[in-house]
């Protein structure tokens, strides 16, 4: 039986900037299985990105527990969270969030360097991965010299580089046209199948969400509905 790689119990997140209290998440309970591809959908401001940030350990919940890969990350110190993130999480953002001052290959190699790889080994690995993702001719380009699709593929490569157990995507196709978005989703599916990595994607798009195994709907900080996606199952079959 496939184990739960992500377990959220009664997770609340309250922001209080400038004294204005915003209850972004109101008791989220969620389980994600290892190798599952999950889409989180909902209107703007419903708490999707907040949830993803909490899952990635780049933000902390106000209340509740988040257990990832058997570790309750809410109990970790900042330093431990950093190490946890480095070893377990791959991040893909809507605006690609590539480092402007690094070339494609350097962006991709950076997580490996953080894990102690030598420069040449990290570069070699990054080069191979970029080639696999069809970016062989864009290896030494800077992010602002790449198209949106190319930049997002670099971001995907960076997320995959350390073979993390979980890949989080915050609107990963939000800035892309339909064809490119579908390309990226196919890429995700390929990764998901090949590496058995868990993918959690936040999206507005039903089309994109339907490429996943399961869709979780959030409204006003609460999970209001969950659905299994048939098309995805068929595709897997």
């Amino acid at each position: 039986m496939t184990k739960n790689i992500v377990v959220l119990k009664n997770v609340h997140k309250i922001y209080d900037p400038d004294g204005v209290r915003v209850h972004a998440l109101r008791g989220i309970d969620l389980e994600v299985k290892e190798g599952e591809m999950l889409a989180i959908m909902g209107p703007s401001g419903c708490g999707k990105s907040t949830l993803l940030n909490l899952l990635g350990g780049i933000d902390s919940p106000t209340q509740g527990n988040i257990v990832i890969n058997g570790i309750d990350i809410t109990t970790l110190s900042d330093g431990e969270k950093t190490t946890f993130r480095r070893d377990n999480i791959g991040y893909i953002f809507q605006l690609f969030n590539l480092l402007d001052f690094l070339t494609a290959i350097e962006n991709v190699a950076l997580p490996l360097l953080l894990q102690g790889y030598t420069m040449s080994a990290a570069m070699e690995e990054a080069k191979m991965l970029l080639r696999q993702l069809g970016l062989g001719d864009r290896i030494y380009h800077y992010p602002n010299q790449l198209s949106g699709g190319q930049a997002q593929r670099v971001a995907v490569a960076r997320a995959l580089m350390t073979h993390p157990a979980i890949i989080l995507g915050d609107e990963p196709t939000g800035d892309l046209d339909t064809t490119t978005s579908l390309d990226i989703m196919s890429l995700f599916r390929r990764i998901n199948r090949q590496n058995k990595q868990t993918l959690i994607i936040v999206t507005h798009s039903r089309t994109i969400a339907e490429k996943c195994d399961r869709i979780v709907h959030i409204e006003d900080g609460k999970i209001v509905r969950e659905e299994s996606v048939q098309s995805a199952k068929e595709e897997i079959a």
């Binding site: 990105s49 907040t50 940030n53 990635g56 780049i58 933000d59 902390s60 900042d78 330093g79 950093t82 190490t83 993130r85 480095r86 991040y91 953002f93 605006l95 969030n97 590539l98 480092l99 402007d100 001052f101 690094l102 350097e106 190699a109 950076l110 997580p111 360097l113 953080l114 102690g116 790889y117 030598t118 420069m119 990290a122 800077y142 602002n144 010299q145 790449l146 198209s147 960076r158």
Partner: protein, 1031 residues
Amino acid sequence: MSGVTIVVVTMTRMKYIPSFISKSVTRRLPKYTGIIIAIALGVTMFVAVDVGVDSLTEGIVQSELQNLGEFDLYVGNNTGDVSVDVLSFLLSEYHNPQVKAIVGRYEISTTVFAGSSGQIEKDISVIGINTTDDTPLGENALGSLKSTSGEVLDLSLLRGDPQVFVTEPLAKKMLISTGDRIEFGLPIKYANGTTSFAFSTFLVAGIVAFEGKATQSQGLTVWIDRTVMNEIIDPDGVLRDKFTTIWISLSLNHKKNPVSIEEGRSIEAEIQALLDPRYNANLETPIIVAEALRAEIEDAIRSNLQIFKTFLNIMAFMIILAGILLISNIQIMSVEDRQVQIGILRALGATKGEVVVLFFLESLVLGVIGSFIGYFLGIGTGKYLGIYITKIFEIGGTPVVVINSGTITLALTSGVILAVITGIYPSLKARSINIVEVLRGIKAYKDERLSKKSIYYGFLTLIISLFILYYRNKSYNDRLWENAGWNGIGEQLQNTLFLTFLFLGLGLILSQYISRTRALNIISIGYIGLSLFFFRKGIFWLTGTGDATNLFILNFLMLVAGTVVLIGVNLDYLGAGIRMLLGFSEKTRAIGLVVTNVMTEKKVRSLLTFSIFAIILSLNVFVASWSESLERGSIDEWRFYAGGIDIVVDLDIPVLPSTMNYSDLISNVDRSIDDVTGLRHTTRVLGLVPPEAQSQLSLLLMDTYEINESTLRRIDGSYKYDIIAIPTIESMKPDQPFDTLDKKRQLELSRSVWDLFFSGNNISETGEPDPNGLPPIIVDASFTVFQDQDTITLLTVFGPREFRVIGELVNFALGINTFFPSVMILPQYAELFEAFQEIPYYNFYFVSTTHELDDSRVSKIAQEIERVSNAVDSPLRSKGIIAGASAIPVWDFYLDLISGNVRFLDFLQVFVSIGFLIGVLGLIVISLRNVAERRREIGMLRAIGFSRTQVVIVAIFEIFTLGLIGLIIGIIDGLLVAESFSELTNFDFFVPWMRLLQYFSITFTSAFIAGLIPGIQVARIPPSEALRYRG
């Protein structure tokens, strides 16, 4: 559409700009604080230099002029021999309503002994006044002598028993009260021309209040009845109708009614024109000249301090240059930070011109704010600067804060200019922003070569260089490729400018065919080569004198600019090196990758950052090395120039051998004294200033030494003292500059001069003994009026007489602190001067000891010599003699000279440290902005696994690396320039290791703090929040 319509439409359309600027400046005020501070500091420096030096000037002028009381001009010949006839002549013939008083005075300088306190004080002015006159201080209500309580002193008191008044400062200094007795010697002049000295005791009948009218000799004055004085000094009545000086006042209250330099000079010219036909028609003695002393002193102080001000302004300019780079850097950051905003503005319809206007006006607003802050800061700083300079240079005088009407204009202008200069590049950068690129966050491919326009600029620059070459060849005959083509300051300046433009032009043209990196490499290497050529060769080829400041600054800037650009364009290689270095540890690999890419991505910004430090540190290191070399490298040099004389003893009144053998008295002071040689010395020999040096008849006092063979040589003919002189006779001159010769050769040449001098012959133009030639003389050529003169004319009792200059004194210790040029003459000519006739015996002694020149025991011996000469229980005093001996270690003369330079360099060090402070401040501001702007990237780094510590290290490492690059460039460039300067000034070069260590520590600490604080701040922000940052 007509032009007017376009303007109107444009103006109407641009109405939004003021409110836009107002909102932008208000909202971004924290971000602009760095710019405002930098502008304010720049303005502060200019205002502080302006106010500080002006205040200092005013203080010194007031203090120095106090010595003149209310007098403006003096008429006489400086030797104390003016007939009463001259006064009568002036009073009857010269009528100018501007002249308020003409006063004749008889003044003698002597040493006073105060019985009550046992103190002895040299150089006291004894003034004889006519006590029967209603206006004893001169004609036209110059006033009367008042007591300290304000009552008019009864002058009849002076006519009784030998009684005197002393002025308040002297009374305070010597602890004299009314009723005390003081003692002093006066020279007695006999009709046969001989002189002796009388020592008399006087009763102090009153203390004269220290006020303007009676403040000559800084108030150290004794007032005596002229008749009583004459009874002592003039038994034969030869001085009865004589004055030493005639004083002229153009204002009776200079504070209320000041007299301008021009007024003083114009009266001087009028009086001189009146005197010449009567007294100077054939230059027969006594020559009488008028001199606008107040105007001369004021002019000299003002122009000297103007040079000082210019020097400080040059330093300030260099520092401000660093400030300009800092502000430009922040402005560029601001443009980059606002790229999207500019893109939106352009997309909404703002023209490129409007964007430029927007940024330009914003700069102006910041400039004006900075100017006002700088104005007030500058006035405060200037006040303290004035006090500080007065203190460290021991100049005297009370600084008065002088704020000219021009100061506020200076502040505003400099602030606005700073803002405008620094606004140009960012405005153009903002103008050239591509709307699509910034809004979509993409970047179009940029050609590695410079734009096509650069080829036109290249040709234009080449044409300018050729024009300079043409102009240069027209002005100078020597060709560029000849050694002689580089020996003039003007020549070298034009050669340098020509080559500077040539390199730039060629580089720009080449940039069309090769990458811009290569083109910039060629230009920067060219500039470095050119400046190195100047500092290693060119500077030594310069002959003659002149102001080489421009040349020096140009090459200094070229060296720094060349190095900075060279490092800047090759930053990628440097980055690769650092990356490799950090790659050795798995903990620093990722940091290495991020840091080096951050640095190399924004090359211009990085270059500006380290160039700030490079300029500032070049200056600091240069000043520090120069100072170190001057202090440490000069001891051997001075030992050589001292020539074996360890102490000089100067007597106010000579001790006649019939009274006591003074040489023996000195010799017995200490066993280490191995020689005491007496000679005669006077400062009252007059030289006629060469007509080409001054338009009207002018005389200059000469510090004259009577030197005979036994003064410098032992009985066996060997030299016991070596006063170094450079041969000036053509055939004896060395074929290379004297100071470049080794010391042995310098000594040989100097002795050849003295050998010729002691031959006793008249000397021909070619240096041969010639009965029809001129008597030899050796002069101190540091006085410009006597530089390069083959002969000089001295006024003897028989009228003007020419002497042949056979040698020039170089670094003559005794000449260092005097106001007059030193000259050496033979005894047979000394008697031609009245001044020597009045000195019956030696009044000056050279003393040599077995100790080293700088041995502290020499100072103790000097003190002992003074004690045995001046103390109440001294053998001299027991014989009733007040000789007024000063024994000065020669090392002190040099120390004074060195300490003056060292003090100046110390001051410069403090001054350039302000620049260092600006550099450090810049580092902090840049780091704060860098980190703040990269908040999103830092969020990204944190998201992918960078720890907080790693983020802080990245922030520190980036700013530290840039600071370190600047530091290294600064150290290399500064040392290079200082080394060549030391060579030029003949001092051994020393690296100021301690200072370098300090600079490194400060750079390290400030970079650490500059990176740490914002680093910690930003690392604390949750990555999720940082990722939302959009500028």
